[in-house]
Symmetry: C2
Subunit: 343 residues, 2 copies
DNA sequence: AACCACGTTCGAAGCGCTTCGATTCAATTC
DNA sequence: GAATTGAATCGAAGCGCTTCGAACGTGGTT
């Protein structure tokens, strides 16, 4: 193994000088820098990360805590993870993969054994046991997907207000003049959860701004409730040709109930969902999706900023992406082109 | 931060004794062990992983190299990753996530900077640049998904021969007496790829053993070729009521062509695919799936064994899982039960 | 009673790096 | 020409752990 001492000898300098060349923490003359650089290249020197962590008390590793069990939308998680790793590498960091199964104890372990400098935690619940632990740990952390307002912690999330507005804008541009909104169960709005209200607020404001008729109703997730709400919407907003749904669990029933009422989807009633991409894909509905790639990138950038002593905003909201699926037919395979035929 | 010296003082022993209690590398009297353990608990001591890596030249980290870009089946990758992390933790190891994008240079970096003790590499190509590097690196490695026969390297893969046989057995048990096989393009069999032939061999042997009629044909991936092959199969194996397909790209066309020929799927012709689960799910076909969870677990166990100086078999084949999807209707949402109503 | 052997425990030397005060030397100033 | 500065470099002291040889008691042996 090539050590910093080997490099120093080879370049005819002290080990500390090599270190300063590497970290840039003290000025080094251009000539020395060149010479050391050349020695590093020739010897193929790579600093030992353990020694670095020990002496410098920085690991250059960030822990990514993911919900890997079933029940979450794996492709979204994966895309997010991919983006995190790529961005982390751009900052010369590595990524330690931790499952949510380990819970708060896992965070304590990773921080306590100095395996990572900071945390990226996905899928944090409203009353998550990890939040207080994260604060105690005193290590930089970025939370994802839920804007758990927590002092000292940094959160990244989709801008639900913009998402609500985006749906309206999209539908108005398609010519719709009366748009319904089927939201989460009433209780969700009562609780000050935030994201449900913000979506609704964005929807309502946009409808107002664009001068289209709109009616918004909450809905429980079971079938009968959905049927009732859909019926009410069709009655109250008689010229309704579009419906924005912000209720994952009800989404399937919504489509079914509309069809049961004799409305074709999307010909008679265009449905736009705010939900995980997978679900919309399955039902072939236009949807506002979570921009997992941007989310991952931004999360890492925020964490790196915190590691560098900066104090980024407590909450970052990402612009929603609307993905139109109208006109999609039955599932069709993506088939690669046939290989070139000889002759 | 609590160090080993703090623990030693608290327990009234030398630091080395604490180390031996922790690692078990030398005998420690039961009484001392108790006392040290108690001190560790009381002080909440957690060893510094960097210091450990430096002194002991073992990181207790394994690098997981995943293909995270599009084009691979994310859910499979994710399930595999999940299984890897869980199993690694059981062996007191952590997992460093590396993307395949980093290529061979990434492996060199991780090994060179002593970030990990060994590698788990998924989706290794037939002529992968990483294979020679992996061998040079001299670190334990386990390759997944492709049985790249490489001396010194350990591979885990699905047992394709058993997969072919499993399809036949399943169909015979359902009462089918004439089974077709639509395989990969001819060129794949010509190349000594291995897995294609093995699947076919397993299929043929099982058909023979079970005494059912069978015909196997290769197929190019484009539509016309598939139509021709399906036509030939129906003509040559006139009483064919089942078809095993080992050709991801053609799978969609196979179903379409069968229907175009007036055969209902699966009522008239049962189709069993050997392909990623996602695809079969989309087409609602019974399939042999890659047991990602077992794969992950086994891979870690093999790697840990190698880290401990053992020499596990160069190739481990996993039994295929057949997942029956006959009788599945249109996509249906899994809806949570409605919340309890008051009154 | 002196001896050996063995199970335990101790002490010290590193592992490879960062960091901080000290040192050097050339350029500037009076 | 001596004193002052400041940039560039050096040297040494750790960071917290593992590991190895040595030291320490015991109990059993001669």
């Amino acid at each position: 193994m090539v050590t910093i001492v080997d490099v120093a000898k080879h370049a005819g300098v002290a080990p500390s000088t090599v270190s300063y060349v590497l970290t840039g923490k003290r000025p080094v003359s251009a000539e020395t820098r060149m010479r050391v650089g050349e020695s590093i290249r020739q010897l193929g020197y790579q600093p030992h990360s353990g020694a670095r962590a020990l002496a410098g008390s920085r690991t250059n590793v960030l822990a990514l805590v993911l919900p890997l069990r079933e029940g979450v939308h794996l492709p979204v998680v994966m895309r997010f993870a991919s983006s995190v790793v790529t961005t982390a590498r751009e900052h010369d960091m590595d990524v330690l993969l931790v499952t949510a199964d380990e819970g708060a104890a896992g965070l304590r372990r990773v921080a306590g054994t100095a395996r990572a400098d900071g945390f990226l935690v996905m899928d944090v619940g409203l009353d998550d046991e990890r939040v207080p632990v994260l604060r105690d740990l005193g290590r930089p952390a970025v939370l994802l997907g839920h804007p758990t307002v927590a002092n000292g912690l940094t959160c990244v999330d989709l801008d639900f207000e913009a998402a609500g507005a985006r749906c309206v804008d999209h539908l108005v541009e398609l010519g719709h003049r009366a748009i319904g909104f089927l939201g989460a169960p009433g209780a969700v709005y009562a609780r000050n959860t935030g994201f449900a209200q913000r979506t609704l607020a964005g929807f309502s404001a946009a409808a107002m701004r664009r001068g289209v008729a709109s009616t918004a109703l909450p809905a429980e997730r079971h079938r009968d409730a959905v049927r009732a709400v859909v019926g009410t919407l069709l009655r109250e907003l008689t010229r309704m040709t579009a419906l924005v749904v912000h209720n994952e669990a009800a989404l399937g029933w919504v489509v079914e109930c509309l069809r049961a009422e004799g409305r074709r989807v999307p010909e008679d009633v265009a449905v736009v969902a705010i939900c995980p991409d997978e679900l919309a894909e399955q039902l072939r509905l236009t949807s506002v999706q979570l921009p997992a790639d941007v989310l991952g990138r931004r999360a890492v950038e925020l964490l790196v900023a915190k590691l560098n002593g900066q104090r980024p905003p407590a909450l970052t909201l990402l612009p929603p992406k609307l993905f139109s699926r109208t006109g999609h037919a039955a599932p069709r395979l993506v088939v690669a082109r046939p290989p070139q035929q000889a002759g």
